[in-house]
């Protein structure tokens, strides 16, 4: 291949790169440096970590997608491989797309070369020797060698790389310079020794100006903080731990009074205790939450039923991972929808918020408290591993544009004025009764929270009429929820034959799929942002001849919930699912849609 022909076919700002390393080798810093450097060059980018449930030694893959068109979902093709792991090299190598490039550590035994792939050996060991870093940092620095070589060969600006490292190391010059030493040396080596033969390269653009690059868990944690979280309890679990980490990281700088905390974040002994604490705090008047994932939700079932029935506001942030059981702890899924909707024995119906982007993680982070306190009920926010733990580009988050809604809470003064109080009486007809908080000194204020049957005064009752009246009110309240939660997002002309319903982290892949399908299939889409559904959802189903519900679980859980909601149209709703641990891709969505509903 001559230089001229390569240039003619240059593919700018459009590739997916996979960095294959060994878990625990410190490659995360290198990969983040590459992602952030591309971002700083104005190129839309996303970074996804495909990692094992392991501390050290197992293979891990980091995918970086650069997309001039702004598409940041996963895509199947791998144009560039950076091979640093001997155990997966053969398989990784076989996965490179036709015409792709293979950067590999030259001490690894190279598989038989494939025609059409460009190979770049990287003398990692020699380069490390030259820098001679402190022994304990050797592995980290070795990973910086590929940053330098890849940057040189793709045209990534080393100043952008430096800026990325400054962000990573919080402006500490010493580690940045240590790493930059390796990066510069490796880049220089590549310049002298490698000849550019593949078509992939980057050019500075202006498409990330003013934007931020953030993980959904951090975004959600910040949202909770700007929603006024004052109590958070949690138990470590992948992929939700980094949510609590972010809460603990940012609260100290934002919520102090005379040097003391105006909040508490408590690591519980298990998820049972985590939600128990959150409920205790919610009862006592704190903005209270817990964060967890599927197995934690399983343990929380009994307490969720109590909070639903005793009507205690709490927010439960569920970063979904693959189940059933321990499942795939480090892989993504939307498998908790059905479980969470009805979590609790007896007749429970829980409210679910469904963020579809990091911006919505932030928004629903604060909004969830308003909904929970307004409804006096548990509110689930279903994120997932892909949204929660991977880096997404976003406009900066909007500061909450609504005043805080603390719900129907009666003070001692108000009780004095009203002269009567019944904790579970439906005064306003919306199923939502008034509550008082512990510490309220008015003689009418105290009530006894109980999970047992109760009358309007929260007194124990086994009377059938008390039970029925209370359950009817709870169902009325569940209905009231429909208009208190985020409405779905509609797009398309509204005239299309086919309607696509989807939710959550599949947003980016669906948008890309719609772009791909413009010529082929006219689509209207509805992105659900909460359960229960409001009237827009019913209308959308009525307005479309062919309907498809897309999701990342095996059984089509949202599809089933929609069928229950609109039984008269149940047979019209088709289910489209993929659930293999990997985020959906636009290509799969587009092809599957065409297969399912015709082009």
């Amino acid at each position: 291949m001559t230089e001229n022909s390569t240039r003619a076919k240059a593919l700018v700002n459009d590739f997916s790169m996979v960095v294959a390393t060994v878990n625990g080798s410190g490659s995360q810093t290198s990969n983040l440096a590459l992602v952030r450097a591309l971002f700083r060059m104005g190129i839309p980018v996303s970074g996804k970590n495909l990692f094992p449930s392991n501390i050290q030694g197992l293979p891990t893959w980091y995918t970086i997608r650069a997309s001039g068109d702004g598409h940041t979902a996963r895509r199947e093709s791998v144009e560039i491989l950076v091979a640093m792991n001997v155990t997966t090299f053969t398989e990784d190598h076989a996965g490179i797309s036709e015409g792709g490039a293979c950067f590999y550590a030259d001490h690894l035994p190279k598989p038989q070369a494939r025609a059409g792939i460009v190979y770049y050996p990287m003398p990692i060991k020699d380069l490390v020797k030259e820098v001679s870093p402190p022994k304990d940092l050797k592995e980290y620095v070795a990973n910086m060698a590929y940053v330098g070589i890849v940057s040189e060969m793709l045209g990534i600006d080393l100043e952008a790389v430096r800026g990325a490292l400054m962000t990573h190391f919080h402006d500490r010059e010493k580690p940045v310079e240590l790493n930059m030493g390796m990066i510069r040396l490796a880049a220089e080596w590549a310049k002298q020794n490698l000849e550019k033969q593949d078509p992939y390269r980057v050019e500075a653009d202006n498409k990330t100006k003013g934007k931020i690059l953030i993980e959904g868990n951090t975004a959600g944690a910040l949202g909770a903080i700007y929603g006024g979280v004052s109590f958070a309890s949690w138990y470590p679990i992948t992929p939700a731990s980094s949510f609590a980490d972010a809460v603990r990281q940012y609260l100290p700088q934002l919520r102090k009074e005379n040097g003391k905390n105006t909040y508490a974040v408590i690591q519980a002994e298990d998820e049972l205790s985590a939600i128990g604490m959150a409920i205790g705090a919610g009862w006592a008047g704190a903005r209270s939450m817990t964060s967890t994932s599927g197995p934690g939700i399983s343990l929380m079932a009994e307490f969720v039923g109590l909070a639903f029935f005793a009507e205690i506001p709490i927010v439960i942030w569920d970063v979904q991972r693959m189940g059933p059981s321990t499942g795939l702890p480090t892989r993504t899924s939307q498998g908790d929808v059905m479980f969470v909707r009805y979590l609790g024995h007896g007749d429970t119906k829980n409210v679910i918020l469904l963020p579809g982007s990091v911006a919505e993680c932030f928004e629903f982070g604060w909004r969830a408290f308003d909904v929970a306190e307004r409804l006096q009920s548990p509110v689930f926010v279903l994120s997932d591993l892909d949204l929660g733990m991977n880096l997404w580009m976003s406009d900066p988050f909007d500061y909450p544009d609504e005043p805080m809604d603390r719900g129907k809470v009666l003070t001692a003064e108000q009780l004095e004025e009203i002269g009567e109080f019944a904790r579970y009486r439906d005064v306003d007809g919306d199923g939502i009764a008034y509550r008082t908080l512990p510490g309220n000194e008015h003689p009418l204020a105290p009530w006894f929270v109980r999970g047992t049957g109760h009358n309007e005064h929260a007194e124990y009752s086994e009377r059938p009429d008390d039970w029925e009246r209370n359950m009817e009110r709870l169902m009325r309240k569940a209905d009231s929820a429909r208009d208190l939660i985020p409405a779905p997002v509609l797009s398309g002309s509204g005239e299309a034959r086919v309607g696509l319903i989807y939710y959550g982290s599949t947003e980016s892949a669906v948008r890309e799929a719609c772009d791909r399908l413009t010529e082929q299939l006219e689509l209207d889409t509805l992105r659900l942002r909460a359960v229960p559904f409001n009237s827009d959802v019913k209308q959308f189903i009525e307005d479309h001849e062919v309907l498809c519900v897309l999701e990342m679980n095996t059984d089509g859980q949202m599809h089933k919930l929609l069928q229950l909601e609109v039984p008269e149209r149940a047979t019209r709703l088709r289910s489209l699912t993929q659930n293999n641990g990997l985020p959906l891709t636009a290509r799969w969505i587009a092809e599957s849609l065409v297969d399912l509903v015709g082009g």
Binding site: Y226, T262, G280, A284, F303, L437, P438, G439, A445
Partner: protein
């Protein structure tokens, strides 16, 4: 001349409340149940301490014992939670509002079986609250199964013979570094009241394991959880008297005869020596005492261990004194400028 009408004024405490203001609903437990006696002592303790009912929250799990908060402190806010999970609910509530005093009532099933984990972690975190275990060695509501505190080789009509050694909840509290460990007997109401008063004044988790006989399922003479056994085998470590704060301790005692234990709020517990010397601040002695009491089949009651030097959970968390529920929206939601600053870090 006007006629003087004599009205009998109800006796009131320092905050002007009568004892009736501390009562709850009528008990639905069996007549003679030890738990009813303990409920009365909780009423007495709160009344005598002059705590306003709204300043107390009462919590429980599930079981006979856990029903009892409905039968005392009717003007206090309360939470009847889940089986074995009261400690976590109490933790959330008392962290959210540390101006409240908490009293939790649990049973031996609720604490020593399903709730053992939460119990130990509550104590480990040192959440200020009174934690009462109404210990009768048996599951009453489900009709008489053995609990984890039942006697080794005890025989019950329903449950047969128990092959397992009992769990000693005072020992569990001690090993979890509890700073206030007491054992008492529902048949000794005075001691129960004094210990509860002291527990309310302690700024940490105060555990009271109170033998509270189940008259229906476990009150036969040979049971260590029966009234008769308790009366015959109770061996108080000391005579216990609670001395309210600000009141000078004026007692005539021989040096070495009485130990004064200072509580966080300035009050004190006066422990008058009975037969033998016992130092409740000696942890090893406490463990030895519990071992020997078991071996010798003695119901050793009183303040078994005391240590007021441990930080409360709220202090460990460096929290403000004010209840979190009183924070205004402006105090809860950081400023718009701060959000912009935080987001700069992600550019």
């Amino acid at each position: 001349m006007a006629t003087t009408v004599e009205t009998r004024k109800a006796k009131v405490n320092d905050v002007g409340l009568a004892k009736a203001d501390y009562k709850g609903g009528p008990s639905t437990l069996c007549a003679g149940c030890g738990h009813n006696s303990i409920s009365s002592q909780i009423v007495n303790a709160a009344y005598e301490l002059s705590i306003r009912p709204h300043e107390i929250i009462k919590l429980s799990g599930i079981g006979c014992s856990s029903k009892s908060p409905a039968y005392f402190l009717g003007k206090s806010h309360g939470f009847n939670s889940l089986h074995g999970r009261m400690p976590s609910v109490a933790t959330g509530a008392l962290v959210a509002n540390r101006s409240l005093k908490g009293i939790g009532v649990s049973g031996d099933g609720d604490t020593a079986s399903i709730g053992m984990g939460q119990f130990v972690h509550l104590v480990r975190r040192n959440l200020p609250m009174v934690y009462v275990i109404e210990n009768n060695g048996v599951y009453g509501l489900t009709k008489g199964q053995f609990s984890a505190t039942a006697d080794h080789e005890q025989t019950l009509k329903y449950a047969g013979t128990n092959p397992f050694m009992p769990v000693d909840l005072c020992m569990e509290a001690l090993t979890a570094n509890c700073g206030f460990v007491a054992r008492s007997f529902a048949g000794d109401p005075k001691q129960v009241t004094e210990l509860i008063k002291a527990a309310f004044s302690f700024d940490g988790t105060a555990v009271l394991d109170i033998i509270s006989p189940c008259v229906t399922f476990n009150d036969r003479d040979e049971s260590t959880k029966s009234y008769s056994w308790g009366r015959e085998h109770q061996d108080p470590l000391h005579d216990v008297t609670y001395v309210p704060r600000y009141e000078e301790i004026q007692v005539d005692y021989e040096p070495g005869e009485t130990t004064i234990v200072r509580l966080h709020d300035g009050s004190a517990l006066m422990l008058k020596k009975l037969d033998e010397e016992y130092d409740p601040t000696d942890r090893s002695a406490a463990i030895q005492l519990l071992d020997e009491a078991r071996a010798n089949q003695v119901l050793a009651t009183g303040l078994i261990y005391f240590n007021s030097d441990q930080a409360s959970l709220q202090d460990s968390e460096q929290m403000i004194k004010r209840p979190l529920s009183e924070l205004t929206p402006d105090e809860l939601r950081p400023s718009q400028e701060s959000l912009q600053e935080v987001l700069e870090g992600f550019k």
